[in-house]
């Protein structure tokens, strides 16, 4: 019950901030001064808040428990992604003035058709990313209230689309920044407490685990013991690092910065904030290996962060700690999935079906949010057995093999053509989603094939880049390409 209460409070607070958060200033001068100060810090917290998803809060600890400490590479990849973002795209993207990736494609290549293609890929990535979020919410609600998994998933869908409909994302920057703090505090405080509480023996056990397979403590990521840990690790790092560039909801956050320089500075602060956060999931995974090894056998490792405090600390305090973690996990779900749903709904109503209707633009957005949530819930129901981090990894892989080449080549290579970009996008999207689907739906491949299908980035990303470059070299770049590129780099 404590858990449900904590989640309820969190939702209420988020809604209040979302709807009334901008009631800060009474007069225009006050406001303008305040808004200049908002700048980098809060903006960076908002980006980190939207980025730290259920995959980070629940999935990372779960996968660490299950697959071994090689999993920590994922956290490194998630964070390192922002190095690539800051170095390659944040500044130019801000200068372009484009809000979404489809906007950028239209700006750079001047073709409405490529806008539609990008809109469709946004949908694929967003849904791949949303399903694990809904799975995380379902799992958390199941743990704190005992309701079946599907009730939790449906409830999560209702909460998130409802909160968007009543205007809960109107001051998105403030909500997301608040959620970052919630996540950090609610994950960090129980983690620190647990570390102190369990005593020196358990701590020693956690650092030098006994009775685990040797592969568990190998610092490489192996998928289903396929026997190619180095390839799997590289592939995953490639996907997460380059995927962060291509994630549609990440890139649109830099639009908020007043200038390109500020956008880059925001990116640097994001790296620090993410680095701080990712210290803590490891604690749950390592302690879980000692205290709750039974989760591995029941294939419920994604729940370790929520279960562990209750098992380690008996009584009321334990349930309070559990409630904190649960609320933190729910905040992760809420912020990420509302950001994703808005990006998805924007794509649905603006890029794919938008433009012509004279009535109901507002209701069209709401309709698109509802439709997006409905499909995500529908897809999440059968996804209960899939690891959260596997699913998120696929979203990153698709982003890395589609939008990453588009943005990087679009920004740095004036010769990119519409045809080249389109064929690269199609090739990247088809191969990456195809591999993910094959990996999810089929079983019993040999070792190498398993890795190549489950972590497709190592071959799909180079393939997409190569396709874009090869096809572009055979054609003429669109009129005004030089000017468009120059604008991206001119200070």
């Amino acid at each position: 019950m404590t858990g449900l209460l904590a989640i309820g409070l969190l939702i209420a607070a988020s809604l209040a901030i979302g709807v009334y958060g901008v009631r800060a200033a009474r007069t225009a001068p006050d406001f303008l001064v305040a808004s200049r100060r908002v700048g980098t810090g809060r903006n960076a917290m908002a980006i980190a808040g939207e980025y730290v998803s259920a995959a980070s809060v629940l999935g990372l600890a779960g996968l660490l428990l299950k697959n071994g400490i090689g999993t920590l590479w994922i956290a490194i990849g998630f964070t390192a992604g922002y190095v690539a973002v800051v170095a390659l795209v944040a500044g130019p993207m801000r200068r372009s003035g484009a809000y979404t990736v489809p906007d950028f494609a239209e700006y750079r290549l001047g073709s409405p058709a490529i806008r539609k293609l990008c809109g469709a890929i946004v949908l694929v990535i967003m849904w791949l990313y949303l399903v694990p979020q809904f799975k995380g919410a379902g799992v958390v609600l199941q743990l704190v209230s005992g309701t079946p998994y599907w009730v939790g998933v449906v409830l999560a869908g209702v909460v998130v689309s409802g909160s968007i409909a009543v205007g809960g994302m109107r001051s998105a920057t403030y909500v997301q920044a608040f959620h970052y703090l919630v996540k950090l505090v609610f994950i960090a405080v129980p983690a620190v407490y647990l570390m102190v509480h369990v005593g020196p023996e358990v701590r020693a056990d956690a650092l030098t685990p006994v009775g685990v397979p040797e592969s568990w403590s190998r610092p490489l990521l192996d998928i289903e013991n396929s026997g190619h840990p180095l390839l799997a690790t590289w592939s995953m790092l490639l996907a997460t690092t380059l995927g962060a560039i291509g994630l549609p909801h990440v890139i649109m956050r830099f639009h908020t910065s007043p200038s390109a320089r500020a956008a880059r500075r925001v990116g640097v602060i994001v790296i620090a904030l993410l680095g701080l956060f990712y210290l803590f999931p490891a604690v749950y995974g390592l302690l879980g290996r000692v205290l709750t090894p039974h989760l591995v056998h029941s294939n419920a490792t994604d729940t370790v962060a929520v279960v562990l405090p209750g098992e380690a600390v008996p009584g009321a305090l334990g349930s309070v700690l559990t409630a904190l973690v649960a609320a933190g996990a729910f905040a992760a779900f809420l912020s990420t999935s509302s950001g994703l749903l808005l990006a998805l709904a924007g794509g649905l109503s603006h890029d794919l079906f938008g433009g012509r209707g004279l009535v109901g633009r507002l209701s069209r957005l709401r309709l698109a949010v509802a439709a997006g949530a409905l499909v995500s819930v529908g897809l999440s129901l059968p996804a209960a057995h899939l690891d959260i981090n596997m699913l998120v990894g696929w979203a990153f892989a698709v982003a890395a093999s589609t939008f990453c080449p588009l943005l990087v080549l679009g920004i740095w290579w004036p010769r990119l053509t519409v045809r080249g970009a389109a064929s690269g996008l199609v090739v990247g999207a088809l191969t990456a989603t195809g591999a993910a689907l094959a990996s999810a739906l089929t079983e019993g491949h040999s070792g190498l094939v398993t890795v190549l299908l489950a972590q497709p980035a190592s071959w799909t990303v180079p393939l997409a880049f190569a396709t874009m470059i090869a096809v572009s070299l055979r054609g003429e770049p669109p009129a005004g390409a030089e000017r468009a590129v120059l604008r991206l780099h001119a200070p």
Partner: protein
């Protein structure tokens, strides 16, 4: 004889049943006169119109010449304006004197046939504007019809250009217009403060200077929401001094929309309208609220006042441009410019009723190609 103007009666102007002509591929054997052929002809006419959207010298000029050449089944087609040939498709037979023919057509103002060439004048809005020359077996009658079509397309292109110029002129008028009313009031209120409160007067004068600089700035057609907000702030400072601080102002703006580019002077006229028509006539304190937030890919800006409001019918008339001259010229202009920039569905939304205040909402995409703040 003038072959120009809207024809009420439609005669097929395309070469009927000529072997090798365009319509054969759709209708297998001999149904050239059927609905399929008509539709195909209409489509060709429409596409010709879109080719010529940029005028004869535009990017579609050659495409238009090619289209006409296929229509007439000619060997070559030249489109010329009064300065000489502008676009050409196919090569003219050697020895043919297109230049001389052109001069002749311009001198006589009618279609001429000098085998192997045939020429017809382009009469745009009853004025001689150019000439179509076709080489090959082309009937003068057919060519004249095509010339009429081209002339109409050119007229159309000129009209849409004029529409954009009118919108730009409207904006200039709006800038120049910052109501004399307001200038007078602002100076009067500053004068009134000079002796009693020199510091305030000085501040107001600075505001006034800032406001003028923004309104007169000619840097471009777009500004960021933040810049527009700054202009509103200075405007409202001046107004609230005039209202003896009866005016209460609230600004709620989500920081993420501050860098969004919007057309220049879009919010300020709405605020001005709220002050002049909503609050000036109201006794006692008045409140005006400006708020903005992002909604997916949209940026929403709302201006609310609790003034005297107006009849919804009047609001509708104002947006339609048929309202009384003294009222809401600014609103109609803003509405018109938003529609020109973003498309027909992006006009203003006005909610109002007598004695219940007014709420005006502008909802625009956060990004639109070409909309960049300077």
């Amino acid at each position: 004889m003038l072959r120009y103007g809207l024809r009420v009666e439609w005669r097929p102007w395309y070469p009927a049943r000529r072997p090798g002509s365009l319509w054969r591929r759709g209708s297998a054997s001999s149904v050239d006169t059927g609905a399929g052929a008509t539709v195909a002809a209409l489509r060709e006419a429409r596409l010709l119109g879109s080719d010529l959207r940029g005028g004869l010298h535009g990017s579609g000029g050659t495409a238009a010449a090619r289209r006409i050449r296929r229509l007439l089944d000619a060997d070559a087609v030249v489109l010329a304006d009064l300065e000489g040939p502008a676009a050409q498709h196919g090569s003219l037979p050697p020895g043919s004197e297109a230049g001389a023919l052109l001069d002749e057509v311009y001198a006589r103002g009618e279609a001429l046939r000098q085998p192997p060439l045939c020429a017809a004048p382009l009469l745009v809005a009853d004025e001689l504007a150019g000439c179509v020359i076709a080489a090959g077996e082309v009937a003068a009658e057919d060519l004249s019809e095509v010339a009429g079509l081209v002339a109409e397309a050119l007229d159309h292109a000129e009209l849409s250009g004029a529409r954009a110029r009118i919108a730009a002129a409207d904006l200039r008028t709006l800038r120049a217009q910052i109501s004399p009313h307001f200038l007078h009031n602002a100076l009067a209120v500053i004068a009134a403060h000079i002796r009693s409160d020199p510091t305030r007067a000085r501040g107001l004068l600075t505001d006034f200077a800032d406001y003028l600089r923004y309104s007169f700035s000619t840097k471009g057609d777009y500004a960021t929401v933040a810049a527009e907000l700054q202009a509103i702030q200075t405007y409202l400072e001046l107004q609230s001094a005039r209202f003896d601080d009866r005016l209460e102002i609230t600004v709620r703006m989500a920081p993420e929309i501050l860098p969004v580019a919007i057309p220049f002077l879009v919010v300020q006229p709405i605020v001005e309208n709220a002050v002049r028509h909503g609050l000036e006539k109201k006794a006692g304190r008045g409140h005006i609220g400006v708020s903005g937030y992002g909604e997916g890919t949209m940026c929403v800006i709302e201006i609310e006042d609790d003034g005297v409001g107006m009849d919804p019918e009047l609001a509708r008339a104002i947006l339609a441009g048929s309202g009384p001259r003294s009222k809401g010229v600014g609103l109609a202009n803003v509405d018109q410019r938003l529609r020109t920039v973003y498309g027909q569905e992006f006009g203003l939304l006005i909610e109002t009723a007598p004695d219940h205040g007014t709420r005006v909402e502008a909802r625009v995409p956060r990004y639109r190609r070409g909309v960049v703040a300077q």
